[in-house]
């Protein structure tokens, strides 16, 4: 059953959506919209092709369609994360993960898509390029620029933290 196969992929779809939207609720709303679209168009999926790539593309398109109207709640949280954790090492590791998620949310939409597909989900370049409907060469250079931008954002965050009293 296609629905069962889609259900099995939901954790990865939620993770990808989180890389795009940063906020849990927005990500799940996006996945819900995409899953409704996918089931409504299940005749468009060709058996034998990768279902995950097809679903990623539907999420990407839904995200772009919704992009103009969606709230950017992520920005509201930007200054709030300093000092929220008290104590243990696990919390510190968690804070590092949050910092990375935060930095990714500040990337351009194009860059978030390649980071979400290749670095977060681990898709090979070829599959990621197919999801985005671009040549592999374009994917590669876009990914390299996205990584540079992300490194820069992380370096800026570190600087800010160091300047904290």
């Amino acid at each position: 059953m296609l629905a069962d196969e889609i259900a099995a992929l939901l954790p990865r779809m939620r993770r990808f959506a989180r890389a795009l939207t940063y906020h849990r609720e927005d990500a799940d709303d996006l996945v819900q919209i995409a899953m409704e679209r996918a089931l409504g168009r299940s005749d468009q999926w060709e058996p034998g092709t990768r279902l995950d790539s097809w679903l990623f593309r539907i999420i990407k398109n839904a995200w772009i369609d919704e992009g103009r109207s969606r709230t950017r709640r992520a920005e509201l949280f930007a200054p709030a994360e300093e000092g929220e954790h008290v104590g243990d090492d696990a919390a510190q590791a968690h804070q590092q993960r949050l910092a990375l998620q935060k930095a990714i949310s500040l990337l351009s939409e194009e860059h978030r898509l390649v980071v979400g597909l290749v670095l977060v989900d681990g898709l090979p370049y070829k599959e990621a390029a197919e999801v985005l409907e671009i040549p592999v060469g374009t994917l590669t250079s876009r990914l390299a620029r996205a990584r540079d931008a992300l490194q820069q954002l992380l370096a800026d965050q570190t600087d800010k933290t160091r300047r904290m009293p």
């Binding site: 629905a3 069962d4 889609i6 259900a7 939901l10 954790p11 990865r12 939620r14 993770r15 989180r18 890389a19 906020h23 849990r24 609720e25 927005d26 799940d28 709303d29 996945v31 819900q32 919209i33 899953m35 409704e36 996918a38 089931l39 919704e66 109207s69 709230t71 509201l76 949280f77 709030a80 994360e81 300093e82 000092g83 929220e84 954790h85 008290v86 104590g87 243990d88 696990a90 919390a91 590791a93 968690h94 590092q96 993960r97 990375l100 998620q101 990714i104 980071v115 290749v118 670095l119 977060v120 681990g122 090979p124 370049y125 590669t140 990914l143 390299a144 990584r147 992300l150 490194q151």
Partner: protein, 259 residues
């Protein structure tokens, strides 16, 4: 031999063919700068993957399942209407959450819709008025005491609703963390946090402000946890939150790890 940064990145991502790989591995031995570039690409990839890995272990909200699971419902559940936009999806979710809040105060219905947070040292927020402090510093850790500690020890089954008593502690989701210890989310006063059992104490790794929605809105705020706390739960939870029976069993063991 020189390689473009794109090629070194593709190598770090495992995208090159054997001949190209061999050439780069040779170059890495000869040139520490090339090795460092590859290491930087690999580290970023690993860090990004780690930052999102926990999401795979989260329970998938029922509303995302392609077909609603046939489950016994005490009250008739309206069929979810097709969703046309994020705004409509959010409205539908809010309506559903309002219904859920009446049933049982539990995760994942604790959407953080309106609970904006301001984080910092919120100790004072826990105890309005002259109540004894609900948390204390102990050996470099923040631990629960007083009414909060008692609520964490005792409340199970989502039975923390104390009506309009804004100072009372409400304990919500409980779960086993990856290290086997039990953790519980709570809301008290205008603060919300996570407490994890460590020996005889409840340590509090995260505390954030849970702002109420308008005047008299405490009850709704009590059904929400701020994102900082939800994220802290994500980072720790092993499997699914405990149900009421699981909470009761954990309480019977004094919240000591069962494994």
């Amino acid at each position: 031999m020189t390689f473009s940064d794109d090629t070194l990145m593709a190598y770090a991502d495992g995208e090159l063919d054997p001949a190209e790989r061999a050439a780069i591995e040779q170059a890495m031995q000869a040139d520490p700068a090339i090795a460092a570039t590859v290491a930087r690409h690999r580290a970023l990839r690993a860090d990004v993957a780690a930052a999102f890995a926990g999401i795979l272990d989260e329970p998938v909200p029922a509303r995302l399942q392609p077909r609603p699971a046939p489950e016994p419902q005490p009250e008739p559940k309206p069929a979810p209407a097709p969703v046309a936009s994020l705004a409509a999806a959010r409205e539908a979710r809010q309506a559903q959450e309002a219904r859920n809040a009446r049933r049982r105060w539990s995760w994942p219905e604790w959407g953080s819709l309106a609970a904006m947070l301001v984080v910092g040292v919120l100790v004072g927020k826990l105890a309005p008025g002259g109540a004894p402090p609900a948390i204390a510093a102990s050996g470099g850790q923040v631990v629960a005491q007083g009414e909060l500690a008692a609520a964490l020890d005792r409340q199970v089954g989502g039975g923390g609703g104390n009506g309009g008593n804004a100072g009372a502690a409400h304990v919500g989701v409980s779960f086993a963390a990856r290290d086997g210890k039990y953790c519980r989310g709570f809301v008290m006063g205008s603060a919300a946090g996570l407490a994890c059992r460590d020996g005889a104490q409840w340590r509090i790794p995260v505390l954030a402000e849970a702002e109420s929605e308008g005047s008299g809105g405490y009850r709704q705020a009590g059904s929400t946890l701020p994102p900082a706390v939800l994220d802290a739960i994500d980072a720790r939870i092993a499997g699914k939150p405990l149900d009421a029976a699981g909470e009761a069993a954990a309480r019977a063991r004094g919240w000591q790890p069962g494994r």
